[in-house]
């Protein structure tokens, strides 16, 4: 560890704010919603103490927060915001405009359940609701990851010109205080680099039009370009994560392979529950069981091919989702099935076998998941698809 790095005890929300401060965000439209407020309150504190030069816009809704973020980013400013749940749902319309404009907006999401019934606690329903919106989605397990992935994510977004959500579990991560290591600001700034926008609105000598009408003869091509940019984000993420490892000593692969070397039973999940599951894997490994975890980091773009490769020797795959997709299979499960049975556009990596691939939904509305339950899932003792 670099001696100039600091060890701090921070919540996930405050860790995100710390990273944003070091990155030097130019414009940050903010609007409160639980459990995201730890992020914007911490940041507002930086402003009050003169620690940041960011223009914070205290808007009147999340829809306006994202709309103002789109304006600021189009103008050429490095832009960030944060939200949760209903707030993310309210932004839904303009999320597609941010990605359609190819704006590298950073959004921290403290993932929370959606109403109705209203519930302020953590699950992944909100972020799964916008998984087709053209945003990169990067999940975090704990406060350290939130800090690190905010820095990685900013560089990635600006490299591939796509907006990014860095996702932490509402309360479990956003409000839990953990010890984490903070890099030197100078190191962070050198890593992320200065942001140079292409064709910003404020370059009044070279006027551009944002938000044109595109009809049958051109709309389709814009969408294909977005898909290509998103595919490219997978490779760029890997390169950036390697660079980040060099400055931090912390490695964040496209997904984390935890004790997978000879694993026969593999659990796929993400977020704070992965920490709990690792404890059980360690315990079962000690008892001689060949178990492991594949923890999703990058969810959009989804690394189908690499995941298929990683899971190819598993005899049993157990997929844990903290969201439903009512009327069909849950989101992670669908992606894992897609990975293993080929996707229509690149069927070469089809590795289907007659293996068992189980789906469980857990943790909706902030329901805790316990070590015992994970152990029971590994042992095949829980039926019915829900870990309640």
């Amino acid at each position: 560890m670099n001696k100039k790095n600091k060890k701090l005890a921070l919540t996930g929300g405050a860790a995100a704010a710390e990273a944003l401060k070091q990155i030097e965000i130019d414009v940050m439209p903010i609007y409160p919603i639980t459990p995201q407020t730890t992020i914007i309150e911490t940041y507002a504190g930086f402003e009050a103490n003169g620690e940041v030069e960011t223009e914070i816009i205290k808007v009147e809704s999340e829809h306006s927060a994202m709309s103002a973020a789109i304006g600021a980013s189009s103008a050429g400013a490095r832009t960030a915001t944060a939200t949760s749940s209903q707030g993310l749902a309210l932004m839904h319309e303009v999320l597609y405009i941010a990605s359609g404009f190819r704006l590298p907006i950073m959004m921290l999401v403290s993932a929370r359940a959606l109403a109705s019934p209203i519930n302020i606690h953590g699950d992944h329903s909100d972020v799964m609701g916008c998984r087709d919106s053209g945003w990169i989605q990067l999940f975090c397990e704990n406060a350290q990851e939130v800090y690190d992935k905010t820095i990685i994510g900013m560089k990635l977004a600006e490299k591939v010109k796509l907006p990014i959500m860095v996702i932490m579990d509402g309360f479990n991560t956003s409000h839990s205080v953990e010890n984490l290591e903070i890099l030197e600001t100078k190191v962070v700034q050198e890593f992320v680099g200065e942001y140079k926008a292409i064709s910003p609105l404020l370059d009044t000598d070279n006027p551009v039009t944002y938000g044109a009408v595109a009809l049958q003869n051109s709309y389709f091509e814009f969408r294909i370009d977005q898909e290509e940019a998103m595919k490219n984000a997978e490779e760029e993420y890997e390169k950036i994560a390697v660079e980040y490892e060099k400055i931090s000593g912390r490695k964040y692969s496209i997904f984390e392979e935890y004790r997978l070397e000879d694993a026969e039973k593999i659990m796929v999940l993400t977020g704070s529950a992965a920490g709990t599951a690792k404890v059980i894997v360690d315990k079962l490994r000690e008892a001689g069981e060949k178990v492991g975890i594949l923890k999703i980091n990058l969810f959009r773009p989804f690394p189908h091919k690499k995941i298929a490769e990683s899971l190819k020797n598993a005899k049993e795959i157990i997929v844990l989702d903290r969201a439903q997709s009512i009327g069909t299979y849950p989101p992670f499960y669908s992606e894992i099935i897609n990975s293993l049975y080929g996707n229509g556009r690149d069927a070469k990596f089809c590795v289907s076998t007659g293996r068992e691939i189980k789906s469980y939904v857990y943790g909706l509305g902030g329901r805790d998941i316990f070590q015992k339950q994970i152990e029971d899932v590994f042992a095949g003792k829980i039926e019915g698809g829900y870990i309640k």
């Binding site: 809704s61 304006g71 938000g211």
Partner: protein, 303 residues
């Protein structure tokens, strides 16, 4: 076409012949003394000026969505301040921020976004071109549609004489934000609009213009007549010209003789049904509403 007039908004856009807003846009932007960034709500102006790969805009322009032109320009304006602070934009580079929206995008779906931006005090001018309905989607009623007007969602019939509600008073709502300058103008009075645009653009902080913009297609009058229709709106006191500068109301036009509002109404197909015998009470109601509103404004101007 005149080079000055087309400095920011070129010829070759595809607005209808006889549409009011091109003259509004050109007159307002013609008063700029600095560079400009323009935001535009979804609507007729946006779709007729930005059909890819063409753009009628010769200044930086952003169309985000329907309801968020004011929030969008808030972001652009703060980005300007942030980048100036960091020295990424020269401190001497002056830029004004102007948003355009129709009445649907302003009175209705964009009202919250506008209110937020006004309250926060961004340095921008918001121009609402008011053609009294959702014309881009084919003439549906908005809260700016006048009492008695036919629209596709307030059709006339055995049980209906058109829209039953009166117009929302947007000037009062905007004025409640206590901004430095706001004015009601009319495309048929370009000299007046020009003066108001100049004042609005010189205002430090938010300013607002509500501009009458006749719609040939959905009000149903010949394309040659938009100036006449506009003139009659003001001459009959249906659309008074006034401004509120630092809280002071001022009437900018007082007709020498009062023309009955029916002279304005009868120029347009959307009010045609009101001239049937059975609808006479509605015509009387409209005259009463016009008289009351004009008296209210005149009273404020005298104070």
């Amino acid at each position: 076409m005149n080079k000055e007039l087309t400095k920011y908004y070129s010829a070759g856009h595809s607005a209808c012949a006889g549409c009011g807003f091109p003259a509004i846009v050109r007159t307002v932007l013609g008063e700029l003394k600095t560079d400009v960034v323009i935001a535009n709500a979804t609507g007729c102006l946006e779709v007729t000026s930005t059909l890819y790969p063409y753009s009628a805009w010769k200044a930086p322009y952003i169309h985000n969505a329907f309801e968020n032109a004011a929030a969008t320009i808030s972001g652009v304006e703060r980005a300007y301040e942030a980048l100036k602070k960091k020295g990424k934009i020269s401190k001497n580079k002056k830029i004004k921020f102007v948003a355009f929206g129709g009445d649907g995008g302003t009175y209705d779906i964009g009202l919250q976004s506008l209110s937020g931006a006004l309250e926060r005090g961004h340095n921008f001018l918001y121009v609402c071109y008011d053609n009294g309905g959702y014309m881009n989607t084919g003439n549906q009623r908005s809260s700016a549609t006048p009492y008695g007007a036919f629209t596709e969602t307030t059709p006339t019939g055995k049980e209906s004489f058109g829209k039953i509600e009166t117009r929302k008073n947007l000037m009062e709502i905007v004025n409640a934000h206590r901004i430095g300058y706001l004015a009601q103008a009319n495309v048929a009075y370009l000299t007046d609009l020009k003066k108001k645009a100049k004042k609005a653009l010189e205002t430090d902080g938010p300013s607002f213009l509500l501009v009458f913009s006749p719609c040939t297609n959905n009000w149903k009058f010949p394309t040659s007549q938009y100036v006449n229709v506009g003139k009659l709106a003001t001459e009959t006191n249906f659309w008074p010209l006034y401004e509120i500068e630092n809280g002071e109301h001022k009437l900018n036009f007082e007709p020498k003789k009062i023309t009955p509002v029916t002279e304005f109404l009868k120029t347009q197909g959307r009010f045609k049904h009101l001239f049937k015998v059975e609808n006479k009470p509605h015509l009387e109601e409209i005259q009463k509403l016009v008289n009351e509103e004009f008296a209210r404004i005149a009273n404020l101007c005298e104070e």
